[in-house]
Amino acid sequence: MTRQRQTIAELSRLFQSGAVSSRELTEASLKRIAEHDSELNSFINVTQEEARVAADTADKLLASGKAGPLTGVPMAHKDIFCTRNITTTCGSRMLENFVSPYDATVVARLAEAGMVSVGKTNMDEFAMGSSNETSYFGAVKNPWDQERSPGGSSGGSAAAVAAGLVPMATGTDTGGSVRQPAALCGITGFKPTYGRISRFGMIAYASSLDQAGVLGLTAEDVALVMQAIAGFDARDSTCSAEPVPDYVAGLEASVSGKTIGVPKEYFEAGLDAGYAEAVHSALDVYQQMGADIREVSLPNLSLAVPAYYVVSPAEASSNLSRFDGIRFGHRAEGMTDLESLYKLTRKEGFGDEVKRRIMTGTYVLSAGYYDAYYLKAQKVRQLISNDMARCFEDVDILAGPTTPTPAFRIGEKVDDPIQMYLNDIYTVSVNLAGLPGVSIPCGLVDGLPAGLQLVGPHFAEQNVLNFAHLFQKETDWHLRVPGEGVS
């Protein structure tokens, strides 16, 4: 193998031709992890033995001709997805030794599709963070510049894919946690409509916003993986029964005559000038394909981050109450009574950012503050949703930057939560409205990747992936490899 990064679609063809086996590919992936991950720190746990067993099983399927498009392809799961017999830490000391007795729906469906998981990727603790610095297992480094953050919270998954350790990794996106790291690491990151993929087995951060997503090299790969994981699951009441279309079949549709809305607020103060230029160039590409570009307005955009940082901590404060040292996870030594058991366990088990959000969330739900914070934030959420819906009356898709700047330096924002939170300005509104969105590489700014975010109406996954795919047919930004140019 001369090329370090290969797409699932390419690997699938190699398998079919017998040019390479899943076992060989899995070994290659494990080898690259062994070589590079001591620096990147993108994995919390590499599961070599399980991976080899799964690869051998996949090879038998490939030999028998019963393989699907994902069979035998190595991948990794963000360590927020519960995996049977393998620790699921959620990037926290609280769950350092936690072994789930069951597989998350996403994990089970990808295993069923024959994918070979090589391990669990690093993440911000309980998915709370935009830089991967809040992980109990240490910060992840951006393969483009190891001084820089890969973004978060799915930073391990993004770095692993960008560095060619695996062709695909799962992620979760509550306020941008798939799209933002994808943008900062120069890969494709997709978050579907809320309810499109089951949350069963995905450790909850903010239940009304959490959604599983895919980090890969191309929109085509994302479509292949989405086909396997999307769809109804009776174990998640918020999972939609909406039929799952053929995502791959929809990729090639022409965008000529379709309309792209560009929210003018995205280009106001805070957006890096070089980044803005990259986004405009990307829009030109669509214009050349015959798409109509139109300016639209999201008047409540500036309220998205504040609303998000009320709603999400509120839900988190409740979701994380189950980590009390009684039934699973960390339990502090030296407790003297029930209250000290709770306090010591949670003091030791949770990091600062998690504690900050639990406290914020507890505060905004408290008697006397509920109306002023939580209820008001829910109203803002509705306004933002309405703004988006109004845009989709006139346009097929929204486009803009994924983040205000390319990858920032590790340590640069970690002590300033407000600055860190503002990194989510373009992504959180999409979660608040529950819409599908993707980030695709659209340029380099001072040698660092910039991301183009495309957002569609509810359940318009096909549309979003279609737009992303056509862009990737016309450009090679998604083929740029850290430090090496085009792969």
């Binding site: 007795p101 450790i203 239940s207 408290s366």
Partner: protein, 477 residues
């Protein structure tokens, strides 16, 4: 000063589903600790609640039975607090949009008049687990079998003005939930329990006094005692110049006192908010229609019908309609024998006594309705007397078998053969010359003695009517 008591009840009725409210784990009572605690019951990371449709049907039926508004849109909310037997750190309940709003129940007061008690609401929620302190060597054990068991919390307006009224109200609700099949109402197992909000105020004062909440009252007797104790305590406290503080109190049946558990200041801020893991419960017209049609005849309607259709008195009907199974039993018997009065007497007499003695529910009665009807038919056709029937009933109860075979095997068939009866009568007249003399001298009462002797000689099998007739004829000649 004259005091007035104001009571509101919060009743927790466990819904009679097979599985829990948000998971497939069993709700069966009495299993080994934690054997019915699935990952949802345990609050494991990543697992999610999925609403059991049956609990919604049950709540809707309750709402319709009390004439309440069954909300077409209700919302589950999280009630947040830490406790070891609350696995998720929050209880899923309903706050702002409960499934049932309003409604009323009529209770009968001691003087026989009716009083209407309005309900505030009824909402669905999950039960917590149990903390176990016994045999744990100084530690606390947690049993999560009960965690996630479906409850309907039924909240009354503060319209009850005595412990007796509270009990009457609770009995009515107890009767109703069993009638409509949504709860087994088993108080020993904790399937039916209540908290009472109790306050006192001077008569004619409009403003309510400060209330205390009495927790977890799980028998009708305890409710009455606990409320009375609490009322006395509050009156005494105020009359001594003290003030009632808002607090939660526990009734200790061993020491027969209520004592403070926690004050308002120590109370949790539950930080309720809508549970994002569950969608709002939306009920369409079709669902509501089906729930309405699934409602059985309700106790009061049944009582009215029994009085008019069977010409029974209110007092008889009360017992017969107390439980749906009793009413069904009665109707099955009377349908067979076509004698409501006789059926009513036996169901509320012999049968009830036997059930009480053996502490059995009528559903598992040792004599079913068909068998009892079989026995009563033998009274109707003069095969046996009512008195002998009681013996046959006892034999059926103890040994099983139907009335006819017992009558046969024990030779209890009534003697109606005139010749045989005359022989016995003659013998008794011959054996009791003094009494015969007295009767002939006009002492009517002696006849009873002679009849008794004849019945005794016939081992109770003589037909009493015939005996009377033959005896009189013979004595008058």
């Amino acid at each position: 000063m004259q005091w007035e008591t104001v009571i509101g009840l919060e009743i927790h009725a466990q819904l009679a589903t097979h599985s829990k409210i948000f998971s497939g784990a069993s709700t069966a009572y009495g299993a080994e600790p934690n054997t019915q605690a699935c990952l949802v019951s345990l609050g494991y990371p990543g697992v999610l609640p999925v609403l059991n449709r049956e609990v919604v049907v049950m709540a809707a039926r309750f709402g319709m039975a009390i004439g309440a508004n069954v909300s077409q849109r209700s919302v589950f909310a999280r009630k947040n607090y830490f406790y070891p037997d609350l696995p998720k750190g929050y209880q899923i309940s309903q706050l702002e949009l409960p499934i049932v709003e309003g409604g009323h129940i009529d209770i009968v007061l001691e003087d026989g008049t009716e009083k209407r008690i309005n309900l505030t609401r009824a909402h669905l929620e999950e039960d917590a687990g149990k903390s176990m302190h016994e045999n744990m060597e100084g530690q606390t054990g947690i049993d999560l079998n009960r965690a996630g068991t479906p409850l309907l919390e039924i909240v009354s307006e503060p319209e009850l003005s005595s412990a007796k009224e509270a009990v009457a109200y609770m009995r009515r609700i107890h009767q109703l939930v069993r009638y409509i099949g949504i709860s087994d109402g088993n108080m020993q197992e904790g399937s039916f329990r209540c908290d009472a909000n109790v306050s006192v105020r001077p008569v004619a004062q409009a403003e309510l006094g400060t209330r205390a909440e009495l927790k977890n009252l799980n028998s009708f007797r305890f409710i009455e005692k606990a409320i009375n104790l609490e009322v006395e305590r509050q009156i005494e406290l105020i009359e001594d110049g003290g003030k009632v503080v808002q607090e939660t109190r526990l009734y200790d049946s061993d020491r027969d006192e209520t004592r403070s558990m926690r004050s308002k200041e120590e109370a949790n801020d539950y930080r309720y908010f809508p549970d994002p893991d569950l969608l709002p419960v939306v009920l369409d017209d079709e669902f509501l229609q089906a729930a309405r049609e699934s409602l059985p005849e309700l106790p009061q309607a049944k009582a009215q019908r029994f009085m008019s259709e069977y010409s029974l008195k209110a007092a008889d009907v009360e017992l017969l309609t107390a439980a749906r199974a009793t009413a069904d039993y009665f109707e099955a018997v009377t349908a067979e024998i076509d004698d409501p009065k006789m059926a009513a007497n036996w169901v509320s007499g012999e049968l009830s006594a036997a059930l009480n003695r053996d502490n059995l529910e009528i559903e598992v009665s040792k004599i079913d309705a068909a068998s009892l009807a079989g026995l009563l038919k033998r009274i109707q056709d003069n095969t046996i007397s009512g008195k002998i029937a009681k013996d046959v009933f006892a034999a059926m109860w103890e040994e099983g078998g139907d009335a006819d075979s017992i009558i046969d095997s024990k030779g209890l068939k009534q003697i109606t053969d005139t010749g045989a009866l005359e022989t016995i009568v003659d013998q008794v007249i011959a054996d009791n010359p003094d009494q015969v003399e007295q009767f002939r001298a006009g002492k009517e009462k002696v006849l009873g003695f002679l009849v008794g002797q004849i019945m005794k000689a016939s081992q109770g099998k003589a037909n009493p009517g015939q005996v009377n007739q033959i005896l009189r004829t013979k004595l008058s000649t």
